[in-house]
Amino acid sequence: MRKRILFKDEEITREIERRIRDERLSEGDRLPSERQLAEEFGVQRDTVRSALEILMKKGVLIRKPRKGYFVAPERIELNLKDFSSIKKEIESIGYRSKSILLNYELISMSKRLAEITKMPVGTLCFQILRVRYDIERPISLERSYLIPEHVPELSREDLEKQTLVSLLKHDYGITLVRAFQRITQVYGGDMEAELLRISRNEPLIRYEGLLYDRKDRLIEYFDNVILPCSLEIHIVDYA
């Protein structure tokens, strides 16, 4: 007997995903009921339920008790080739992103930080700590490090007023031209748990970057951890 390539529930998940895309359903739109879907696909309700559960786990759908299944909030698309900030991405899909500055201080580089930036241990740098919210939901914890020499008059007001990229450009005439970026998976610690309202040990996406200006000076190192369900990374490249 031939082996089955796709199980019925796997086929149904893809068909539902296809419809969400083709019929342009968006956040909060309701899906037909389990019973209706079962009838339509000609399968048992268990099979439909299994498919719907897969889609919930993938963050495509959410279930509201006694109300049914709804399309989940859209993920923020981070386009790595474009190096657009998360803020811009969020705005482009119509959300109001708000970043709250938690802390801003001058620190001396730890061994770990020194290794990453290839600067001597103990080098002074600004550490900027922010939480980004997508409407009311915290979605990422963002740490940025800047060298005081490049941004001598950096103040809390500056940071609250505008994005780092525009601050660098307008106040200091620094244009970023090159970025080294890295995506890995980490587990949240106490700080992430508290600020992102998750439990400790939850898997998170870590998105780091080293940003250089025209003179090839390292201007910023950022180290963000992001809730997995909020983000999709999109890359177009050539072999």
Binding site: E11, R14, L80, V177, A179, G189, D237, Y238
Partner: protein
């Protein structure tokens, strides 16, 4: 640093101190045993283990426990330098000196799946060749890949044994090697099926890729969904702004 944070760090350090001399692949005591030994909560042990796994110093196996990792600690980079998908995991892993093995779970022709037809830019009911594989590096599962290619470009595809032949070598030989990719990357939690093949606990995190490949004539020649183990992989590259 909070007291809790320093506690798990201390425990992680002590685990390495006490068990660092174990051999590669040696099984560590269970969480309960370690919790008793260090007089801490099981959740602290779990967290310390997660942190060690993140650094590639230990690895977990579904239903078996946590093991010491000594070799191949080096992180694989699934980046554009060795594009994940271009020459495939095979080339990538080759450059790290890891021995690769492919196990074909199932392969065959699918018709009438509109989702896949749209991904591949095909007309209704055009046949699609499906290839589901588990990729191993040094006998450890690295990824599970569900690949779909249009049959019309690869008419003899069903006669190939993809546990022996590289899919990309075959695609190149037929004149439809993908040279441009549209990739989407997310972090997901493993479903029971993928967890079983990757020998990881259910709900462990994995990178999930969706990849569409185009050949030199801009035909869509590949659609792949894959789950890649997180613990030894990173995704990095340089861009000009």
């Amino acid at each position: 640093m909070t007291r809790e944070q320093s506690l798990y760090k201390q425990i992680a350090d002590r685990i390495i101190e006490d068990y660092g001399s174990c051999l590669d692949g040696e099984l560590l005591p269970g969480e309960r045993e370690l919790a008793d030994k260090y007089s801490v909560k099981r959740s602290t042990i779990q967290y310390a283990m997660s942190k060690l796994a993140e650094q590639g110093l230990v690895y977990r196996k579904r239903g078996k426990g946590t093991f010491i990792r000594k070799e191949n600690k080096r992180v694989m980079n699934i980046s554009d330098a060795a594009v994940y998908g271009t020459q495939g995991i095979a080339a990538l892993v080759r450059s790290y000196g890891i021995k690769v093995k492919n196990v074909v779970l199932v392969s065959g022709i699918i018709t009438g799946n509109r989702f896949l037809e749209e991904k591949l830019g095909l007309q209704k009911d055009e046949p699609i060749f499906a290839l589901h594989r588990v990729r191993y590096g040094n006998e450890e599962p690295l990824a599970i890949e569900y690949t779909y290619v249009p049959k019309k470009f690869f008419t003899d595809v069903e006669t190939m044994d993809f546990s022996m032949v590289s899919l990309y070598d075959y695609m190149e030989a037929r004149g439809h090697l993908p040279i441009k990719y549209d990739k989407r990357l997310r972090l997901e939690k493993l479903f029971p099926k993928e967890a079983r093949y990757l020998e990881l606990p259910v709900d462990d995190p994995a990178f999930y890729f969706e990849l569409i490949g185009f050949d030199a004539d801009r035909h869509t020649v590949e659609y792949t969904e894959s789950y890649v183990c997180c613990n030894r992989t990173e995704f990095s590259f340089t861009t000009r702004i």
